[in-house]
């Protein structure tokens, strides 16, 4: 009896997901950003495309780090050949560096705007355009209404949005599907080897709608994400089994 009840609940939850903005992706597995175990934190065990993700950065260095993590995801989204938009306050992104993340830098259009209001408008317009792979926007603060507008835009067009929030003044509830915090951690070199290792990040998924937040440590190696410390993900899996 209880088994059937659980089935019904699972079934209902599955039906609810599309209503909450988690629509099955069109591109399928080919657009999967290859986040490995992080995918398990999301409903349907897939990274939600056609949704807006929010990234909080406490320090100036974290903006670059977050940009790197997003670039890694963008690379797989842009594999379909579509272009992307990067909306920011100042011309800081150095296009040749994007090549290291597997992106063709000339397929990204950069837009520099000073006012937050303009950035928000441009981002909403861009998210409504279904010819794009993704839109990255840099804005310090975003209200609930604004974020809901963005969410409504992506539900129509299936474009993935990323909001980078450098030094947010207040972190309030938004309609974004997830909230992340990416910080860098020291890279590891083999004993006695000189030089700097591969970029290594601490990925904190602070909030995710209908999913399980968690913390992972990943590395960007040879054009792919790789989990460094398995312990965290094992914990997650145990948690999933028990809870």
């Amino acid at each position: 009896m209880s088994a059937t009840k659980a089935d019904i609940i699972a079934q209902l939850q599955k039906e609810l997901l599309p209503l909450q903005g988690y629509k099955p992706s069109v591109g399928g597995a080919s657009l999967d950003p290859g986040l490995g175990a992080i995918n398990n934190a999301f409903p349907n065990n897939t990274f939600p495309l056609g949704a807006v993700h929010e990234f909080c950065c406490a320090r100036a260095e974290d903006v670059a780090v977050t940009g790197g993590f997003i670039s890694g995801i963008l690379a797989s989204l842009m594999r379909s050949g579509r272009a992307s938009l990067w909306i920011s306050r100042s011309k800081t992104i150095f296009p040749p560096a994007l090549k290291a993340f597997g992106i063709e830098p000339d397929k990204i259009i950069f837009i520099n705007l000073q006012k937050e209001r303009d950035i928000l408008w441009a981002m909403e317009e861009a998210l409504e355009c279904d010819g794009l792979a993704a839109v990255v926007g840099e804005m310090q603060d975003i209200g609930f209404t604004a974020s809901r507008r963005l969410q409504l835009a992506v539900e129509q067009s299936r474009v993935t949005g990323f909001i980078i929030r450098p030094n947010p003044r207040q972190v309030i509830t938004t309609a974004c599907v997830s909230r992340w915090k990416i910080t860098s951690i020291p890279s590891i070199m083999e004993a006695g080897m000189p030089g700097v290792g591969f970029p290594r990040w601490n990925v904190e998924l602070l909030k995710v709608r209908n999913g399980k937040p968690g913390t992972w440590q990943i590395e960007w190696i040879a054009g792919k994400f790789r989990h460094v410390i398995k312990v965290a993900s094992i914990e997650q899996e145990q948690q999933k089994k028990t809870g």
Partner: protein
């Protein structure tokens, strides 16, 4: 497609027109004359007068000696260009490209037109019959080149349709005047006894050029089809402009929107018919008080999508001040380009930068925030970081060189390097500590140096030794030392970027 030309000769253009205007002139010999040096000189004579031996250039008094009853009419200045203009516009029914051949002819570029009238014979006969029924004496000929068609229409005896690539055979028996030569050249040829084209067509070109000049060779080549001849069609080029006058002055934004939408619909319909797309448009509102309000838009790609153009204008409608009202709207497409037809729907838009949705989005953004805020970069052949990218001027521009990913480059590059204080142990070693914006960073790992020299042909200055360093928190920076390490400490350290 092989080129075919028709030339038409209105033999008695002006006198025919006078006959049409005054039916009493029908059937009697008459001439047009104008005073030259106190004498009346005949400038045009009708067929009957000409048959009785009256030629152009004869003095009227002499002509009267031949035909006492000769009617003399004053010539009207500028009549024949006016008539030809009217006739050429009427003839657009036969081909879209009609040009005037002064003083008394028309040239049609009828490539690919004849089959619509059931063949060249029907086509040419149709033209001749229609023009004759209008009351003009005409002779027309058709050939591969304008020169041959002209020669046949003026001097040809039979076979007014010249077959493909048979110019030479048609021209052989014609007099040299058929080549549209200058009067003195014709006289010279006459004096030399070269009365037909076949007499000199086989002569060495160098000899012909020396004696008759380059223009002679050019005319001959144009007639034979060795040289292209360009005609200027009279087809009036209509400006891409739409007007909408209003009965009542318009004062509301909704009214302006409706007017704009209507104008856009008609303009875009026309553009679509002509396979043209709009690149820049100007919307002018004429106010009751005599002022004009203007808004303009530009697009990245030629388009005739009225919905998209309306969206571009919509952003700016708010800036129009109607004051007491607007009585006239004019929409003008200032820049129009040909569009390649887009495959609709089947493959849901091109991907990448060719996507129409993307270019429309960029148009909207550029309309509101200005095109100079939108950048796209392509790789450039320079190692100096600031010069390794350049702005793409348009959406289609591709990188001429590969993006280099062999050296580490920071994701965020500071536009102006920030000076830092550094403790470095040994010359040419990465620093141990550095202070940036008051914060001390202890360097744990470092890579480098990578020396980048300024290109001396572009810029003078010292080289940079770049180090990629990581501090104890795992943040990665791109630092450089400007200049050589020396005891005088004339070098300086800078921070230039953040790695991901």
């Amino acid at each position: 497609m092989p080129k075919r030309f028709v030339t038409i000769w209105f033999r008695y253009l002006q006198t025919d027109w006078f006959t049409l205007r005054r039916p009493t002139l029908h059937g009697i010999p008459f001439v047009l004359a104008s005073p030259v040096h106190g004498r009346l000189v005949i400038t045009a004579a009708n067929a009957l007068a000409e048959a009785q031996g009256i030629n152009i250039g004869t003095v009227v008094a002499d002509a009267r000696a031949l035909i006492p009853s000769l009617e003399v009419i004053d010539e009207r200045a500028g009549l024949s260009p006016k008539l030809l203009k009217g006739l050429s516009e009427w003839c657009i029914r036969y081909t879209p490209s009609v040009s005037i051949d002064p003083p008394d002819g028309l040239i049609f570029d009828s490539s690919g037109c004849a089959h619509l009238w059931g063949g060249e014979e029907h086509y040419l006969n149709g033209i001749i019959t229609r023009l004759k029924s209008l009351g003009y004496h005409v002779r027309a000929a058709m050939a591969d080149t304008i020169g041959t068609a002209w020669a046949l229409s003026r001097f040809g005896k039979d076979g007014l349709i010249n077959g493909t690539n048979q110019q030479a055979s048609a021209l052989l028996s014609l007099p040299p005047a058929a080549l549209r030569l200058q009067a003195d050249t014709i006289d010279l040829l006459q004096k030399l006894g070269l009365r037909q084209i076949k007499d000199f067509i086989g002569m060495p070109r160098s000899a012909l050029r020396r004696r008759f000049g380059q223009s002679f060779i050019k005319k001959l080549d144009q007639a034979l089809g060795h040289e292209e001849e360009i005609i200027h069609p009279v087809q009036p080029i209509e400006p891409y402009q739409e007007r909408l006058p209003c009965l009542e002055p318009i004062v509301t934004a909704t009214g302006i929107e409706i007017a704009l939408q209507r104008l856009l619909n008609t303009l875009c319909f026309r553009l679509r018919q002509e396979q043209k797309g709009l690149r820049a448009a100007l919307f002018t509102c004429y106010r009751v008080d005599g002022r004009m309000e203007k808004i303009d838009i530009g697009t990245n790609r030629p388009t005739y999508n009225s919905l998209h153009l309306f969206k571009l204008f919509e952003i700016k409608i708010g800036t129009i001040e109607p004051a007491l009202g607007i009585e006239l709207f004019i929409l003008e497409a200032q820049k129009v380009e040909c569009v390649s037809p887009v495959q609709e729907k089947l493959w849901e838009g091109a991907s990448g930068l060719d996507n129409t949705g993307l270019s429309e989005l960029l148009d909207r953004l550029a309309g509101k925030i200005g095109a100079d805020h939108i950048h796209r970069y392509i790789a450039d052949e320079h190692y100096w970081p600031e010069r390794s990218v350049k702005r793409a001027s348009h959406l289609e521009e591709k990188s001429t060189t590969e993006w280099k990913a062999d050296r580490p480059r920071p994701l965020q590059l500071l536009s102006i390097p920030e000076p830092i204080e550094v403790t470095a142990p040994v010359p040419d070693y990465p620093p141990m500590l550095f202070r940036h914006k008051g914060k001390l960073h202890k360097i744990i790992k470092a890579d480098g140096p990578e020396r980048i020299e300024p290109e001396w042909w572009l810029q003078q200055g010292q080289h940079r030794d770049y180090y990629c360093v990581e501090d104890e928190e795992g943040h990665r920076y791109w630092l450089f030392r400007l200049g050589h390490y020396d005891a005088g400490r004339s070098y300086q350290w800078f921070m230039h970027g953040f790695f991901a």
